[in-house]
Symmetry: C2
Subunit: 229 residues, 2 copies
């Protein structure tokens, strides 16, 4: 579902859409059929006005005076985020993190299908990782000629990250989730999302210090705590 308004959609709005989707699934389970933006605010912690604004980029999904039909809204958001169809994903890196990702049940639940796992370590190539066989990263392009995955996950050490990105892009991947602490160079049209544990912990570490009274001019974090990233 494309934006209907022609306005730019903030990436933060897309992230929140994924959060709404998750909470709507909960509501479906609880057999709640209708919800207002105000009561969704109490669930998610995201302001009602922001919820309505986020949806407005894509159309009208509620009824004034009534609210939103839970399952209809959930399906609409799934369609917007393409969570209503299978997305094929390649994984580069069969280390600890790669293993955790292959075993993560959340991916299947969101219709994300890991179709191949690659590594460059000959000690690992040919072995199994759960139900997947680890393939030689040199065969990535060839393999993806068949698989046609559009998303790649990089879970390799920093030094290997750019090479992994280049291989993925050469194979037609246009969206990369990067777990390596590296700044990837990619051509226009390729989106990279970085996940950095250390960066997250650095922010938390700074926050701790600001609580310790070391910091007289503590920044105002009053509303950060309950906030969904």
């Amino acid at each position: 579902m494309p934006p209907t308004t022609g306005q730019r959609v903030p990436i933060a709005a897309l992230e929140r859409l994924a959060t709404y989707h998750r909470h709507l699934l909960d509501l479906e389970q609880e057999r709640i059929t209708t919800i207002s933006s105000a009561s969704l605010e109490t669930h998610t912690g995201i302001p009602a006005a922001q919820f309505r604004k986020d949806l407005s980029y894509f159309g009208e999904f509620g009824k004034p005076g009534v609210g939103y039909e839970v399952s209809h809204l959930r399906e609409s958001i799934a369609r917007i985020l393409r969570m209503d169809r299978e997305q094929r994903v390649l994984l580069v890196g069969a280390g600890n993190l790669g293993a955790a990702l292959v075993g993560y049940p959340g991916l299947k639940e969101q219709r994300l299908r890991l179709v191949a796992v690659f590594d460059n370590n000959y000690a690992k190539i040919g072995r199994r990782l759960w139900d997947m066989q680890i393939l030689d990263v040199a065969t990535l392009t060839e393999v993806n000629r068949e698989m046609r995955a559009g998303i790649g996950i990089i879970a390799v050490p920093r030094q290997a990250a750019q090479g992994a990105a280049d291989a993925l892009i050469a194979a037609g991947v246009r969206a990369i989730l990067n777990f390596a602490p590296a700044t990837l160079r990619v051509p226009p049209g390729v989106m990279v999302r970085n996940v950095s544990f250390v960066q997250e912990l650095a922010v938390l570490s700074y926050h701790l210090a600001s609580l310790d009274g070391e910091d007289v001019t503590t920044p105002d974090y009053s509303n950060v705590e309950n906030y969904e990233v």
Copy 2:
């Protein structure tokens, strides 16, 4: 190092500080002793003006006409983010993801020390995870009376996430890195950072669709690709 200006420090600025730190480590390795904000822009992809602005919250670190002394700047940023001292961290959840985190070398490199691992599954309690013994989550408060960790990582299934958060907070933890796809309720003063693989992949999935020409009014992503999160 507290903010010296009394201005609020944007969280995004703290995240970028962690990125600068990583690149400065690289420069030290390459025996580069001085760098300007402009040449750092080419390394990190973050605009020079933003780099200078981010630093300005904390003081003056460069010399006009010259640039920044690499190791001095790196040490200053480490001090700001408290990466110059050991931070003790508790981990709740000894599943696949927990195992990957315990084995992740990046934590030690940033002086983050995992001091205890907890689980509520009696099949796991008492077993070893790498060099750590898995402890009963019921003992968390007691254990932390000794350990005094200020940071907690939640790597449990969604249903157990709020309970894990409550246990961590009761034990004095004031900063939480949450990998569970749940919105945690925490009291004021406790900071939560959420890491959501599925959310990241949802954004990527949307981006893919916007490339497919399904979307005539594609939002402007022209400068997103090379950007550091």
